[in-house]
Symmetry: C2
C-alpha cells in the first residue's frame, strides 16, 4: 500500500523567507540579511509590531510568494511513490484561502483538489509522514516527521532535519 | 484523554436538502417534495443537468444554507466532552471556501479557526469519530463512523445511522 505524506506550504514548498524579506524592504525600507532571521519567528523579525499579521491580511501576500527552489520537481517525483497531500494551516488567515488555492493551481497543477487540506491545528492529520517547518505541527503529529530547515527552527533538534528538497528526496527514497 | 469528532457541514450541520429545494424552485420554478429526493444524489435530483454544479458556483449558495435543526445546541453540548473539528470537503468548490468560513463564524462562533478543516478527500482525517452523510467519506475513515440521515444515503446500511441531532447526542453519550 502506498504511504501518504502531508506537505506544508509556507516555508516548505513556498519560500516564505524570501517573501518576508522582500515585503519588509518594500513596506518598511528595511534591508534585512537572511542571517538576521536565524532563531526568530515570523512575528519578531523586525521591530514593527504586527508586521507579519499586516502582510498576511494584505491581498496578494500569499499569492505572490515564490516557490521554494526544487519543490515542484521534488513533489512531482515523490508523487510517483507516495500519496501526496498539501496541508496548510491557512485557517488563521481567511484571506489566504483563495490565494493559496490559486497559488497551488499555478505552481502545482498536478496536485488534485482532492489532495489539498486547509486547516488550523494539524494534529488530526493522519498521514504516514509530515514534512513541515513548524515544531508545533510536527510535535503533535502521530506519524514520522521531517523538519524542513527554516530560520525559526534552527534551535530545535528533536525532528529529522532536511535543508532542501534534494535532501527530502534522498531521505524518502529509503521509505518507499 | 478527550476523544475527537470530525463533523461534516453540508447535510449534517448545514441543511443542504432545504437549500437545494429552495434553489430548485427559485431557479427552475420546480416545486419538489422532499420524498422525491429519496435515494438520489445532489447531482440527479432534477432533470436539469449540472444544476448542483451551477448552484455551487453561484456566490451565496453556501453562505445562505440554513442551519440543520438542533445542530448548534448539539455541537455546543458535544464540545463539553469531545474535541470537535468541522471537516468539510470544500475544495471541490473553491468559491465555497470563504462562504463556509463566514457561515461558520455566524452560526458556530464558538468553533475556533484551529478546529476547521477544508479538504478534498477525507481519508487522511485522523479523528476518533466521523459524523458525515456521505458514504464515500465514511467508508474510507479509520475511526468510528456515524451516518447522518440524508436523501442520498437511505439505501446504505453499513454505518450507524442517526436521523437527527438528538439521536447523535443520545449515541455519543455512551462514547464519553
Amino acid at each position: 500500500m502506498r504511504k501518504s505524506i502531508a506537505i506544508d506550504m509556507d516555508g516548505v514548498i513556498a519560500d516564505e523567507e524570501t517573501q518576508l524579506l522582500t515585503w519588509y524592504e518594500r513596506h518598511y525600507g528595511l534591508k534585512i540579511h537572511p542571517h538576521e532571521l536565524i532563531g526568530r519567528t515570523e512575528y519578531d523579525v523586525v521591530p514593527e509590531l504586527g508586521a507579519y499579521d499586516k502582510f498576511s491580511a494584505t491581498p496578494g501576500y500569499f499569492r505572490t510568494t515564490p516557490v521554494m527552489p526544487g519543490a515542484v520537481e521534488a513533489v512531482k517525483k515523490l508523487s510517483e511513490d507516495f500519496d501526496i497531500y498539501i496541508v496548510s494551516a491557512a485557517m488563521q488567515y481567511p484571506l489566504s484561502l483563495s490565494q493559496k488555492l490559486e497559488w497551488l493551481g499555478e505552481h502545482f497543477p498536478f496536485i488534485s483538489w482532492r489532495n489539498i487540506i486547509f486547516c488550523g491545528d494539524k494534529s488530526i492529520i493522519g498521514t504516514d509522514y509530515m514534512i513541515d517547518d513548524h515544531i508545533k505541527n510536527l510535535d503533535n503529529f502521530k506519524g514520522k516527521t521531517v523538519m524542513f530547515n527554516a530560520f525559526h527552527n534552527v534551535n530545535h533538534h528533536h525532528h529529522q532535519r532536511v535543508n532542501n528538497w534534494d535532501e527530502v528526496l534522498e531521505l524518502m527514497k529509503k521509505e518507499i
